[in-house]
Subunit: 191 residues, 2 copies
DNA sequence: AAATGACCGAAATATTAAAACGGTCATTTT
DNA sequence: AAAATGACCGTTTTAATATTTCGGTCATTT
């Protein structure tokens, strides 16, 4: 066999999950696309959920790359933070796999999808927390509790990128940055 | 008749909506509790939804009173804003009617419930916006767009009161205030 | 003139039958 | 002998159908 068996199956799983979501994908379907028998899949994965987990791990690796890439850019701490989060959420918003999983969570509450999306949220939150902690170390940010601050920033980005766009004109990246610059970072109180 | 007919029906509607939500309440049930025939209800309200609207109007009137009361307290602008919003959301949290409607929106998407909750959100947002505009007038706050700032504060409160409590220990009123003091009002950037 | 509840079509719910699914394993292929 | 396979199994989902409940009306009663 020229290509790795596990990789072939994983690629097929990624494709079908992206097209039909977790619930909408049958193991038989993945097997056919991968060009193997159904039984073969169970020599590589304990069950269907383990396939999703493997696909998600790949995916989280990509997300991690975004934060990593931005980290080495030579910019202000605040701008870096913004760019990493913006790119991440944009990526998340456009990726078919995540779109399907998100819908599955809200419509069917499929437990495997819930846990997969939880992983994504945790990952983003953790990356954000690390970035904030770094800003604190460098003496650029004052923060009592990095977790609370990460939560605050994360929820606001989600609110603006998801909820705001539902009823108003979407903000450009620049405008969104301004919102955060004014509110979270500088504060609105006049001194 | 000693008590007002409309008020009696409205009171019964309020009770049953609070106990069973909109979907879970039948018109016959309201009629029985109000001690009138079903037909009588339709002499006062065009349809079931109009009953809900009337109940919600009463409710929004109560909410308005909270903002009004706080407005006249002699405190810092920021503290006032916080107290008004906190009272509002605590009230909301305790109020069975809103709990049921909120669940109905997320579980069944009942259109009458969606529109009722939309009204509540709009009302809170508008009150908040007015309070912020007042802070700006008094030269206490610097804000580019009161709508965006109101949205920011509202979403953050909801996030902390709903989402944060789902996974972490609920914040006390004091802690919640600190979060807003640090993030929105003063900012986290070191100058 | 105001109040009522039996009645209507429509919508929600419960019941049942049929199909599809995840996972296994005896058999086949390499 | 080891790896791959798909027919097969019990369970879960879905589709089809029968039953109940509901919002709203209106002829009759109060």
């Amino acid at each position: 066999m020229i290509t790795n068996k596990r990789a072939t199956i994983l690629e097929a799983a990624k494709r079908t999950f992206s097209l039909f979501g977790y619930k909408g994908t049958s193991v038989a379907h993945v097997a056919k696309l991968a060009g193997v028998g159904k039984g073969t899949i169970y020599t590589e994965f304990k069950h269907k959920e383990e396939m999703l987990e493997a696909v998600m791990d790949d995916f989280l690796h990509d997300l991690g790359a975004i934060f990593e890439r931005v980290k080495h850019e030579d910019e202000r701490s605040v701008l870096k933070l913004h760019r990493a989060l913006y790119d991440t959420l944009q990526y998340r918003k456009e990726h078919q796999l995540l779109i399907h999983l998100t819908e599955e969570v809200s419509v069917h509450g499929t437990k495997e999808a819930v846990s997969a999306m939880q992983k994504v949220e945790d990952f983003i939150m953790t990356s954000l927390e690390r970035a904030i902690a770094q800003g604190v170390e460098k003496g650029r940010l004052q923060v009592n509790d990095t977790e609370i601050t990460a939560f605050t920033i994360y929820k606001l980005y989600i609110a603006f990128i998801v909820d705001w766009e539902e009823k108003k004109r979407p903000l450009t990246e620049e405008e969104l940055f301004q919102v955060f610059e004014n509110h979270i970072f500088n504060g609105i109180v006049i001194r």
